[in-house]
């Protein structure tokens, strides 16, 4: 897992380039790499703007299935997640594209937030549907031998 600290504005660029590089190494195509780096840019900027500081965790999903990026902060939290997820809604009269856009650009997105405690947003991007179905052979024998 790679951790990128978000403290100043340039860290947003560091987070998105690190995520893009990780995605490339995992075998994502150029368009998916761009989707991932753009979503990371949006969510890392949200940390910088609304929480001041936080961390971006970039990790590989089990068995090369894809990438997971988590955005963790201990800022003010999001009061109304449904509202924040609405396309075009912004508390600061910005475009309100960050959260809904990041959701559209990824395969899964989850938000855990509590007012006054902080926010964790997690996104996942999967390599391909067939790789999700891949069956790992189990080398484990079922139960121990019984001698009756």
């Amino acid at each position: 897992m790679t951790v990128v600290q978000i403290r100043e504005e340039q860290d947003i660029v560091r987070a998105r380039t690190t995520a893009k590089e990780a995605a490339r190494e995992l075998g994502f195509g150029l368009v998916d790499q761009t989707r991932i780096s753009t979503a990371v840019s949006e969510l890392a900027r949200n940390i910088f703007l609304y929480a001041g500081e936080g961390e971006v965790h970039i990790e590989e999903l089990n068995n090369h299935h894809g990438i997971r990026v988590s955005f963790i902060d201990h800022g003010p939290g999001i009061e109304d997640v449904d509202l924040a997820m609405k396309d075009g809604w912004s508390s600061v009269r910005a475009m309100g594209k960050g959260l809904p856009g990041a959701k559209r650009l990824s395969d899964r997105m989850e938000i855990h937030t509590e007012t006054g405690e902080g926010t964790t947003v997690t996104i996942e991007k999967w390599l391909s549907p067939s790789s999700k179905l891949r069956i790992a052979p189990s080398p484990k024998p079922r139960g121990g031998p019984s001698l009756t």
Partner: protein, 216 residues
């Protein structure tokens, strides 16, 4: 049987059994307990040893079998994926119909994934050939619901961002009706009824003029 006989090397043999069982428990089924082939020397423990050996080789066989099945299944999944891609490619040819004019005849249903792949292929083509006009012909799309309309509009928007032009042709009357009923906003998009009209539009946009040759 060997009831009356004493058991030779009891401790070391039990130790060996434990050892072999733990090796097998770790997934290595290539191991066996060495037993005396001489039936005369068999004792009460030999039966257990043989039993353990049988069990281990059976389990090894079973695991090999299931691994093989999993491999076969994965191979089949890969094959299906390959075939799906082949079908997709067959069903969406991007045709260069004129210098700097591409035609993309859409045939069949458009889901998110297909339309994403299509857009990607189209935009890559446009960028590499610096194509000015793309004609998106939807005659072969059976139904246009709001999801399909959205996919088409997204493709058009992406083409326009590259700096190329895009015209939609082949909109059948019933498709036009449903689009209006669904409230699909086509205001930013050029739409024409036929592919031929689309081609004329492309020529105009490239400042090309078609003239009928005068017979002498």
């Amino acid at each position: 049987m060997a009831k009356t006989k004493g058991i030779a090397d009891l401790e070391s043999r039990i130790e060996r059994m434990e050892e072999i069982l733990s090796v097998a428990a770790c997934g290595d089924f290539g191991v066996q307990i060495e037993t005396d082939t001489d039936m005369e020397k068999a004792d009460a423990l030999t039966a257990i040893e043989t039993g353990i050996n049988l069990l281990i080789s059976d389990m090894g066989e079973e695991v090999r079998e299931s691994t093989k099945k999993a491999d076969e299944l994965e191979e089949k999944l890969n094959l299906i994926e390959q075939q799906r891609k082949a079908i997709e490619e067959l069903s969406t040819p991007i045709i260069k119909i004129w210098e700097r004019v591409l035609v993309l005849p859409l045939i069949g249903t458009l889901d998110t994934r297909r339309s994403q792949r299509l857009t990607e292929a189209l935009l890559t083509d446009i960028a590499t050939t610096q194509t000015k006009v793309t004609i998106l012909d939807i005659t072969g799309v059976p139904t246009v619901d709001s999801a399909v309309a959205n996919h088409i509009l997204k493709t058009v928007a992406a083409v326009q961002l590259l700096g190329a032009e895009c015209v939609i042709t082949g909109i059948r009357p019933e498709v036009a009706q449903t689009m209006v009923h669904l409230g699909v906003d086509l205001s930013g998009v050029e739409t024409l009824s036929t592919l031929a009209e689309g081609l004329k539009w492309a020529f105009r946009s490239l400042n090309l003029r078609m003239v009928e040759e005068q017979k002498a």
